[in-house]
Symmetry: C2
Subunit: 459 residues, 2 copies
Amino acid sequence: MVFSTKVFRKIEKIVGKANCSNAKEDLLCYSYDATPTIFFPDAVVFPKNVQDISSILKLANQYEFVVTPRGAGSGMTGGSLPVNGGVVLVMTRLNRILNIDKDNLIAVVEPGVVTGDFGKAVERQGLFYPPDPSSADYSTLGGNAAECAGGPRAVKYGVTRDYVLGLEVVLPTGEIIKTGVQTAKGVVGYDLTRLIVGSEGTLGVITSLTLRLLPLPETVKTITVIFDRIETAAETVSEIIRQGIIPRSIEYMDNASIRCVEDYINSGLPTDAEAILIIDVDGGADEVDRSIKRIQSVCTKSGARYIKTAATSQDAEKIWKARKAVSPALFKYGPDKINEDIVVPRSKIPDMVKKIKALSRETGLTMVSFGHAGDGNIHFNIMLDKQIPEQQTKADHAVDEIFNYTLELGGTLSGEHGVGITKSRYMSKEISPDSIALMRRIKAAFDPAGILNPGKMLV
Amino acid sequence: MVFSTKVFRKIEKIVGKANCSNAKEDLLCYSYDATPTIFFPDAVVFPKNVQDISSILKLANQYEFVVTPRGAGSGMTGGSLPVNGGVVLVMTRLNRILNIDKDNLIAVVEPGVVTGDFGKAVERQGLFYPPDPSSADYSTLGGNAAECAGGPRAVKYGVTRDYVLGLEVVLPTGEIIKTGVQTAKGVVGYDLTRLIVGSEGTLGVITSLTLRLLPLPETVKTITVIFDRIETAAETVSEIIRQGIIPRSIEYMDNASIRCVEDYINSGLPTDAEAILIIDVDGGADEVDRSIKRIQSVCTKSGARYIKTAATSQDAEKIWKARKAVSPALFKYGPDKINEDIVVPRSKIPDMVKKIKALSRETGLTMVSFGHAGDGNIHFNIMLDKQIPEQQTKADHAVDEIFNYTLELGGTLSGEHGVGITKSRYMSKEISPDSIALMRRIKAAFDPAGILNPGKMLV
């Protein structure tokens, strides 16, 4: 349908004129996310409370317009893009931390709370919220839950899914439901909580989250290890885990990433190294020291070129700053970036690294890989100029090859970014037609009119 | 429909005569579980492989008979009871451990593997599968996943849901699908894995599980703490957690449990104590020693009567044996038992304990509570003689009161047993009509003909 002025007037009546807009300049502000694509909505709405959202969704069913929920718009696969126009529901004004309960290790928050701010708030009380997507400084807890965000700490602590105990959700048909529990355990009824987490805003609008917290680990230490061969780095990761040590995170950067970062922020990394591992260990002070010694021993035996434990937290921050600079620094290699977050079984990282090298040679395109070596979650980037059709063709071919090989190795096409619009055409490589048909029936069970975030994932 | 001989002949044709039966003596063997109720199926079938199951389910849709999957039949809420007759699908012959992968910390198993056997098999390789329902010596991994089983270690390690990465499932309509991943992360498509885990055999038949493992903790130590007042015990649990210590398990037994166990196995527990805490701490040796000292200090400050750290693993086993004997020992207090596994926020345990005491006084019935104090999961038992109508009425009233109070305290009606048939009439206390309607639509999306395990949960 065409989104009419009549519908917009009705929206104004629900949320008030101050909380919605159809002015072009406002629509532009909510037309993009972290994918390089733009779709204009017909209206943006800033709900003040759960009732606003319920009313908007009921109206959407009545007038058949589509609604796309949006947090900070930092998603990598287009989950919050209004690909079919309609209303963008901007959740950022629902941004209160409602409760931090130290006795029961839970917190209740609204979806617009920025993840990093929440992390700091619980830390001040000696508590810990582990999920740490790279976007944590600006992404929101609601968006993190919708996409099931991960991050470096997942190797030890798991992903967003593992910390969401319960939700308040507005269903696409407007009903407000509570899912899950406020306690550590709970098995009454189907697990709607984990079905909605990671459903990319297609099954409901999250309006409140009950999150599980942990005690804050006493100590965190960071080791940097430099390798002449990337295969050795990958094998070292496997050996650390085999020794029964689970670090808080094990990140890696390949040579292209290192060179790129050095150009960008000049942090003193050796540009001839084939790989760097950044390993964080946390826990009680003695335990951390012991794990560090054992990790140093594994790295020495495997033939690492250089091993250094950061003496101060400033030193540790410096190396982490380099790791986090990889993504923005990459544009040195081309104006456009294709960014995929495949996962392979940890022990298969060397195979994937070889494959990426070979494809880079074959296509002549710069391919950079870095990411969460501890859980096999590789951020694989191809740099290109999309204006040059030949480069686009080669890059598409490389993505296809990488995805096929990922599945061959027993992996998955996305560890934390989701499917959205950028991976939807690849979904059938991983998910069988029977499963996709079932997912469509589940979508219909939630959203018979198909008004909530259509055009994503199951297209 | 009436289950006809014609249908039985067709089943014989699918699985072979040796793998099914409609003889009364065989039907009896699969007519019960750990609830004191019996329902006869019309046939029992022992599938040899996933194809058998797919064919049986297709036949069930065609001839409209119902199918109930069954593991070891150790469930507490009737999940595996054939309440509507039809076929019981006995999964215990699919009992192979297909792979234990030390490099990637995963295992692939068939559903009929006994949980305790699996735990020992991975331990032999220095690995650890944390979920430990009390039934672990005979219950199966498939049944554990269907019910989302918990256990004492959940306070630190979570429940079955947290260890299932992926499944092979036969849908009620006969299609065979794979869900989830073989890696630590994965967010492609809706989370069918966690939707099926805990769905009590109503959404699909699990035919294979990919499970997450951890490195085996180096040391486990057990502390026994005796209290004159149960409120002090409960407050001590909160204080331990508040100090940032998460033990592997924190179990408690109330005075009635202690007296009962002493009568039963005479393990030397003080029968005048109001409560005993059994606390397991695991991790690296130094870390465990330090935690033990800190826990001892908390217990001393709170006024515990007696604190003892088990000197040997035999001593630790002895005290655990006492804890595990509570459930069978209870029948001293009456021929019948009502057994509920409510969860309240950890800090509300003292309130619930007071409520149970008051109800016991009010009704004159023995009420015993014990369980997983660390995560607020209280196993609450009423002992009675069901032949005495007055006792039954009083017990029903007490359950109602306890359930209402559980929800008032922010808790849930089941932490690990599920809903099945015994709790289905209480489900609407916790789950709203809109959520139940949604769950019904999800059930219909999986099972349009309603042939898989009907009469459970959503009745």
